[in-house]
Symmetry: C2
Subunit: 432 residues, 2 copies
């Protein structure tokens, strides 16, 4: 199908930065086949009028746990231990396969409605989640959360291979291995997972240096930091995306810079659970590829990347008392191309360029948050809230139009997640 | 006109906290005349079905500069001096009366669409702004920014009296005196303004202790802090709302607590301009009435109180490394009833109660951000983005329905603010 975005403002790469430019974008099959002039032999099936519209590359959410979306606002303003063991764990005990599916559907609807077209997910039930991904038209990178030791991981590495096999019919889904964290994996398990990743030729997605408790525990057990533990056991010898990295020192950052580790920062989750602020400006200065993620809806509680972009652009200006610290332009890169790089998809997604996949969010500028039409890259971080996203194209297919998701039944999903919460006795529950 | 919100979830006060409760709300004239059972003799003209809806008291934005909205995203990621003198000041030199009007219209549209029904404005051209307020149906507290000395203030105090006279036909508009800041007013001017405020029986709206430069300048000039300067010169002897208070020490906070000063915190603006984080948890602990504001669109760049609530609920958890610090429930109070108190309007607005003005925002829960329907007070701060607001009632009149503002012409306002920016050579301007 040939789709044209006609005379539209678009954010496009211009060297190391991005710029807003009026153009036309031609889509054929799953790809952008032309920008500016119409390519020879292009067959137009659908024209989207670009008046008062802004096309941006679909946002890349580099760290989430999509199934948790049905747990949104279930456990707030609690200490980490009360949150995890008092509320989230008991819910997960009662969770069925189908609950995972509806949770993932809700996550996908929220992400699509706020311009995210690709997400990096750490999950327990991949088959149910990827069912939602396949149906919805989303793009995702999946990993099963791996916990245990080299001798006994409950068959989780083997499950990852089974799940890769299960998804081989959908090229929008790729995989990583997902060793959960230093406090849920042994050193020899990190080693075993990195060996498997090398063998399989895929990357790693891991939680590292999120809380002070994690640092202290790792230091006591091994005598070094989580970053050193990961490095010593091979996790950084394959493409690695490390979530959080809040509690990292200079030596940790030097290791990650040298090994080409990508760091996903999750500002809302890190603040909400009381973990603090990741040293993002310092990591940028060291040349680390920093990208952006929302974490799950049980600890954020939003999967809206516009919210996350705003936080990222603001908080470091506050902590560093500098209005120049982490610019809106840098934030936009982190939410798009840097994310694509972290997921090893930079040749396919992350920017609007001929030859790349057509993963595009189209914003309606007729919203007060983006008026007047000035400095739109700044507007994305500082004044937009995500509801300006009108149309979403993923892999060349229109998955949302006029804010209506075309590929999932929104009302049914809302009904189902409310039924889950009701079954668990949490419906309309007020504060603890 | 008798309006019923039938069988609706509503956030209502329950002692010192708020709770979500299903009820029906009866509106007659400008007031809530009943909740729960239909009041005797009530005549129903319109029924709003409460299914999947949430009624909240309209949000109270306690510090903004509405006319600046046409300067949204004009000057970002700049140092304070480059921002103010390099960009904002030159624009203000070129600004006409009509520009102020359209700027205020844009601000009101943005606020209404994100559930704000009352705002506290510091302005230069009150007549143009209040024209927009009168037309739109908004509620506002106005003050002219007063700068100068007791001998020469360019006639600004007199202008305030003239403007009060100009607005006496609209009881949705009340006034404060607005001494701008310690660095733009002399001590004797602070004294003169507080004497006038006492005489007129109205309160004060002032910027205090925003930046380190302000603290240093005041300390050098007078030998004490901006808070002490304000206190010594009578500003706290009338109801006073102090914006920012980022750089305050224990002694400053004790003075404000003792004198019953209300503090408006503006998290986005304070971070964006590199001023840091106000000690909100410490002020709360001292019993200071803390409320919430967006500041102007030239330094935020959003007037969306949901964005601000989210920041307020998150950042102090980050700085204090405590997930219990500043709860979502406390944030909701700061954005509603605490704001009403600060504006001396707590008997009229700030909560859904019989006898108060009908200032109500109705959210559509059929949005992924508020699904599942659980712990909705938390949801307002952590997952909603403001676009869930479907209908707004101010002073008993429906001013927005189905997200369409009924009282202003949105398209015309967008056209006009773009014309202003074009005239000033800033249209579609990219980053500096």
């Amino acid at each position: 199908m040939g789709i044209v975005l006609k005379n539209i403002q678009a954010i496009v790469p211009a060297g190391s930065k991005d710029e807003v430019k009026e153009t036309s974008i031609y889509i054929e099959g799953d790809k952008i086949v032309g920008m500016g002039a119409e390519p020879a032999g292009f067959k137009t099936d659908k024209v989207i009028d670009g008046t008062d519209k802004l096309a941006i590359p679909g946002l890349v959410n580099c760290h989430t746990h999509s199934y948790m979306s049905f747990m949104r606002n279930v456990a707030d303003d609690l200490s980490f231990m009360d949150w995890l063991f008092g509320t989230i764990d008991p819910i997960e005990q009662k969770m069925t396969d189908e609950d995972t599916y509806w949770g993932a559907c809700l996550a996908i609807i929220e992400m699509m409605k706020s311009g995210t077209t690709c997400f990096n997910d750490m999950m327990m039930n991949i088959k149910q989640t990827t069912k939602a991904i396949k149906e919805s038209g989303m793009r995702a990178v999946m990993c099963r959360g791996l916990v245990g030791s080299a001798e006994d991981d409950g068959g989780r590495i083997q499950q990852t291979y089974d799940e890769m096999e299960f998804c081989k019919d959908c090229d929008r889904i790729t995989f990583k291995f997902g060793p959960h964290a230093p406090y849920t994996c042994t050193e020899d398990y990190f080693r075993r997972v990195s060996d498997e990743a090398k063998k399989a030729g895929i990357g790693i997605h891991v939680h590292l240096s999120e809380s002070v408790a994690e640092i202290q525990g790792t230091q006591e057990k091994y005598g070094y930091s989580p970053i050193v533990m990961a490095d010593k056991n091979g996790l950084f010898d394959v493409p690695c995306i490390a979530a959080h990295c809040v509690q990292v020192d200079d030596a940790d950052m030097d290791i990650m810079a040298r090994k080409g580790v990508s760091v996903v920062t999750n500002p809302a989750s890190n603040m909400k659970l009381g973990n603090g602020f990741a040293p993002v400006p310092e990591m940028m200065a060291k040349g680390i590829n920093v990208c952006l993620g929302t974490d799950g809806a049980a600890s954020n509680n939003s999967l809206n990347m516009f919210h996350e972009m705003s936080l990222l652009a603001l908080i470091h200006k506050g902590t560093h008392k500098s209005p120049q610290c982490v610019s809106a332009r840098e934030v936009f890169r982190m939410a798009t191309l840097n994310g694509a790089k972290a997921l090893c998809l930079e040749n396919q997604i992350g920017s609007l360029e001929v030859g790349k996949k057509a993963d595009i969010a189209i914003l309606d500028l007729n919203n007060p948050s983006l008026m007047p039409k000035n400095n739109l890259i700044a507007g994305l971080s500082y004044s937009a809230n995500g509801s300006e996203v009108d149309t979403v194209i993923i892999d060349g297919k229109i998955t949302m139009e006029g804010r209506k998701v075309l590929t999932l039944d929104e009302k049914l999903v809302y009904q189902k997640v409310n039924e889950i919460i009701k079954r668990m006795g949490l419906e309309n529950k007020d504060y603890v």
